[in-house]
């Protein structure tokens, strides 16, 4: 379709406005982390870096960060294993109920987090609680992995669809054992899809608050939980703001990584 000049300009303006809408709040957090005023008087009149040093020395925030990273890594490992298995099963085999698998994998992320949260919470308490395993970091990992499977599954499935089985057949024809074929042919083919999916899984887990609220044992505080707990405490506001600013700065990292590792289309889907 041939767009008229004014129409192109209108779309361009709309795009600029949209990006402004997306980025202004984030920039505000960054600027505010240097705002000398404790209540973020606007516009800021004196700039300081003391909140940054205060945040650096905040033990609670640091512990929460470590907990979040551990939970994220755990969930990512489970998601990688389970997601890859389901993707292979769905792509390489025909079986009864195959079409419902994609629905099943999407379900934990499509249902409201609070539903997944309370379902896992009550199930954990009645099943695992009877076995004497209380809620802790592991229950958080299990909860997160449940909705992270879909990211790996989607990435690997798309890759398997695109690559087909020709290369693997050729490898088998040339006398490679199934395990050799997997090591030298299949795995290199899906490696970048695994990375993209794993990155997404980690990010989803790192950011999750609702499911964490219900699956975390006492004393397990992830970074989102820490932020939320401190959000309504006025004298913690500057430190919370610095943590928020750090998270904004670091959010550039996975996008950059995904671009480097897997090409522009990686990370294009956060599901």
């Amino acid at each position: 379709m041939t767009l008229s000049g004014p129409a192109r300009w209108a779309l361009r303006l709309f795009m600029v406005a949209g990006l402004t809408f997306i980025y202004v709040p984030l920039l505000l957090v960054l600027v505010n982390s240097f705002n000398g005023d404790r209540t973020f008087a606007w516009p800021p009149h004196d700039l300081t870096t003391r909140w940054w040093s205060a945040a650096w020395e905040n033990e609670g925030a640091r512990q929460a960060l470590i907990t979040s990273i551990r939970a994220g890594l755990g969930a990512t490992v489970f998601a990688l294993v389970l997601g890859t298995m389901v993707a292979f099963a769905v792509q390489r085999f025909a079986f009864f109920g195959r079409d419902t698998i994609s629905l099943l994998v999407v379900l934990p992320i499509a249902l409201p987090g609070i539903v997944t949260g309370i379902a896992l919470d009550s199930a954990w308490r009645s099943v695992m609680g009877d076995l004497g395993i209380g809620k802790g970091l592991f229950s958080v990992v299990v909860g997160h992995a449940t909705f992270c499977v879909v990211t790996v599954y989607n990435n690997v499935l798309a890759r398997l669809r695109r690559t087909g089985t020709n290369l693997e057949d050729a490898s088998a024809d040339l006398g490679a054992s199934p395990s050799q074929t997997f090591r030298y042919v299949t795995f290199p083919l899906i490696r970048s899809a695994l990375l993209a999916g794993g990155l997404l899984a980690f990010a989803l887990s790192f950011d999750e608050i609702i499911v964490t609220t219900f699956t975390a044992g006492p004393g397990v505080t992830t970074l989102p939980i820490w932020i939320f707990n401190n959000l309504f405490r006025p004298n913690q506001a500057p430190v919370v703001n610095v943590v928020a600013a750090v998270l904004i700065v670091f959010s550039v990292l996975p996008v950059w990584l995904a671009q480097r590792l897997a090409g522009p289309e990686a990370g294009a889907s956060r599901t």
């Binding site: 795009m15 606007w42 099963a89 499509a110 959010s251």
Partner: protein, 285 residues
């Protein structure tokens, strides 16, 4: 290892079983099982004196849910918020995605995709928190609009704005992907047949975008429907379904009733998923 590998290679059913057993154990037995138990417990009640759960079938919870004005109001409000957020996201996302896919140069397109992607990785809480500062009484938005109290402040409109803000990229990306797949030749053909830009958009572009829009709406709708955090941060006294569920688990300690309330968004979402599955939206995720 090798002999096991070749054994499995000769028995595809066994391989399939091996591949599916662990994920299905997790997703079907653990997850769906947990959901089923939750659903069943919605039909239980809590003993008013002991606070213990009475495991006997009763429609009490659902009767309360339907009869009491407040629950109906909150349910309708939540659906309204989710719908408003979805519509707002579509209205914002379609022109932006269209510009990205069909107007911007190849280089600009790449940069724009990154610009839309990056905020997705910034924490959900951080974004809600940013809006709390923006919307504060006497904060930047108030100042921009002429002084304290001139902006929307915290409340229902703020909730809709912030939820739209949070989920907007989830809408832009599938629509962008859909538009990118849409061949330019179709648009040219439409123009050659005499259609103006507006007609082409309505008759060619929009129908082909339907699965992508549905895919995006799964996120915007479902995420809004279950949210109870953003609304606590910027919603003032506004209550959504999520707040009710949360209050009944925490303060009221009435898990059966919380489960009954939670079935409302689940039923809505399952119906929604089945409805949009026909359009192929799940493939677009």
């Amino acid at each position: 290892m090798t002999s096991l590998g070749s054994y499995l290679h000769r028995h595809p059913r066994l391989r399939l079983a091996g591949l599916l057993s662990a994920p299905l154990l997790w997703l079907v037995v653990a997850y769906l099982g947990a959901l089923a138990v939750l659903l069943v417990s919605a039909f239980w009640t809590v003993n008013g004196f002991t606070g213990g759960v009475v495991r006997r079938f009763s429609l009490q919870n659902f009767r309360t849910l339907l009869a009491e004005e407040v629950y109906r109001a909150v349910t309708l409000r939540s659906i309204g918020v989710a719908a408003a957020v979805t519509v707002l996201c579509v209205v914002l996302a379609v022109p932006m995605a269209f510009f990205m896919a069909k107007v911007a140069s190849a280089r600009a397109r790449h940069a724009l995709v990154i610009a839309i992607l990056t905020p997705l990785w910034a924490s959900y809480l951080v974004k809600a928190y940013a809006w709390r500062i923006l919307l504060a009484n006497g904060g930047p938005i108030d100042t921009l609009l002429g002084g304290p109290g001139h902006g929307p402040g915290y409340g229902l409109p703020a909730t809709v704005i912030v939820l739209s803000y949070l989920w907007l990229p989830y809408m832009i990306l599938p629509i962008y992907a859909g538009l990118e797949r849409l061949p330019d030749s179709l648009l040219e053909a439409s123009a050659d047949l005499g259609a103006r830009a507006g007609r082409t958009f309505r008759a060619v572009v929009l129908p082909m975008l339907v699965p992508s829009i549905f895919a995006g709406s799964i996120f915007t709708f479902s995420l809004s429907l279950g949210d109870y955090i953003a609304v606590q941060i910027v919603g003032g006294k506004t209550q959504l379904i999520g707040n009710l569920v949360y209050a009944n688990i925490g303060a009221a300690n009435n898990l059966p009733f919380a489960a009954a309330i939670a079935t409302v968004p689940v039923v809505i979402m399952v119906i929604y998923l089945f409805a949009v599955r026909r359009s192929g939206a799940l493939e677009e995720l």
